[in-house]
Amino acid sequence: MSTDGILTFLLQHSPALIVAVPLLGAFLTPIIGKINDKIRNLFVIIIVLLTSFFVFLLSSNILSNGSIRTYVFGAASANNPVIRIFFQVDGLNAFMIIIGAILSIVAVLFSFRYLKEYTGQDKFYTLVLLMIAGMFGMMLTGDMFNFFVFLEITSIASCALIAFWTSKGESVYAGLKYIVISTIGALFILFAIAILYGQYNALNMGFLAASIQYTFLDKVALVLLISGLAMKAGIVPMHMWMPDAYGRAPISILLVGATQASLYALFRMVFTVYGSHLADILRHIKFRFFVTIEFDITLNGILGVLIIILALFTIIIGVFMALKQSDFKRLIAFAAVAEIGYMLLAIGAAIITISEIDTETGTIILSEVGVNSLKGGLFHIINDALDIGLMFLVAGAIYYVTKETSLNKLGGLARNMKYTTIFFLIGLFAVAGIPPMNGFASKLLIYESTYEINPILSIIAIMCSILLLAMFVKVFHSIFLGPKQEKFEKIREVPKSMLIAMAIISCIIIIFGLFPDIILQNIIEPAANALINNGLYIGGI
């Protein structure tokens, strides 16, 4: 076979390989770990790089020509779409797996030295690879039940990761909280899947999207799906597990990816599975109050308003609670909650502007403001993953050298850790959305489009963005500035592999910040188009 032939072969099978390679790696890790620690580390990074290679192969192909790729398991073609398991990859999936690939490379690279002194590393890498496999599965699958399975794989692996340091009671308890939350959420999602299956005799998302009728049972399924996925995505008031889990996990950066996979699923359910009924008129209201008032209540109206209200709560409570925290990792976790609020705000604004659905092609017709808002929300997903990820890496680096995450006990570290300080500053500007970092470009899109919907929304968003800046300035002040402390005299800069991990993310942040237009046109726009034009996804089977 020529190289070209091999590439086509790999591209053709890449959706399966993206999940299968880390899965194989996960089960091989304990056996290889018996030989030598170094060989095991090499093996793990090779597995992750191989997976990322497939991810970039697949997503560059999908994003460049805007097509859709369907991979049927166990058969050459889909002769019976109801019972076959599919992976369906369109622009949105391709966009999400890029985030997953970046996060997993960085997380694995960072944890080599970070966990060097601890026992049970074989199990740790097994869990990390399992979690990566589950995360990619959630992002790629086109089958509802398969989604549930990958959701559970991800939550079991991440629960075990959160409780990895079993010597601390708090981390075990945080792990238990996480598994209780995610199991109940997943069970309600399964309930909704069963309801949909009972009505339409299908589990395939595209098939369901084509045949859904929006009966009463579909409403119940929608409620269960939205609330279950919202809990997994950490939306206020179901966000309380996030600070516990993020604050205790050894590497919280992978959990960010898992959370965003749930957020992706939320978008997929609302826009694709229920997409053909989004603009349905549910009630016609007419009453006299001096003048006759007459208006329609549409599904997208109530969904949009609900999502926007939740988003505002998420932003405000996330920011206010973060401002008060004295623990670095918990503070970042609350900031992550607030950032999720921004994405939801943008998506809610986009849902409100839907005017009608073209039922023949399955296209959702949005106003221009809505399209911009959608782009801003999707752009913010990748920006949030990078910024919050960088912050967690810095927190991990500080924990590595000082064994401390409390802001009250740290101080004056900038003298000994120059590079970490620079990376923290980059992350600070990016999270707060200060130009010219990447956070600004997406937040600008969100502010401007929400201003068109209602100025109050964008005012609240901007105010909370200022508070985000304020609290990271507080972190900067209390960790890096201040006089030398005696107990931190002997502290050195963190090892090179950890610095490289932070540098990779920082470089991506700066590139995204300097050339937002290129990113927007090449990555975000295909994803937004995939979300709006469902005809391709439905026709993919």
Partner: protein, 120 residues
């Protein structure tokens, strides 16, 4: 080809109602820093180290050791949290750290969704 590449990079990022180009902003920031540096040059050169000039003036109070002067992270926004105490008491009551309460919130939100989506 180079001009094409440049025009691709320098193309401004349109947001629907405005535009945004980070490269222009970076130029502006660099110019601002240059101006600042020039202004700094006009400063007074009489400053001497290790004299009374360097000591901080704290309303006549004596200056503490540097370690004691550092404001701890928990105290930085004391005024802000004190003013918004009414909000923070509510938020603190929400965050009990008890897993049953997390599920209770989930059920409440599910109920609200059900009332809004299912009934309308």
């Amino acid at each position: 080809m180079i001009t094409e590449f440049l025009s691709k990079i320098l193309k401004t990022f349109e947001t629907g109602s405005g535009l945004w180009n980070p490269l222009v902003w970076i130029c502006a920031i660099v110019v601002a820093f240059l101006l600042m540096y020039i202004l700094r040059g006009f400063g007074n050169r009489k400053f001497k180290k290790a004299t009374g000039q360097t000591q901080a003036f704290l309303s006549g109070n004596p200056e503490y050791e540097k370690e004691q002067m550092h404001v701890k992270g928990g105290n930085v926004y004391w005024g802000f949290t004190e003013t918004l105490k009414w909000a923070y008491t509510v938020f603190d009551k929400m965050h009990t750290g008890n897993v049953s309460d997390y599920i209770l919130w989930f059920v409440i939100i599910m109920g609200i969704f059900f009332i809004v989506i299912g009934v309308i």
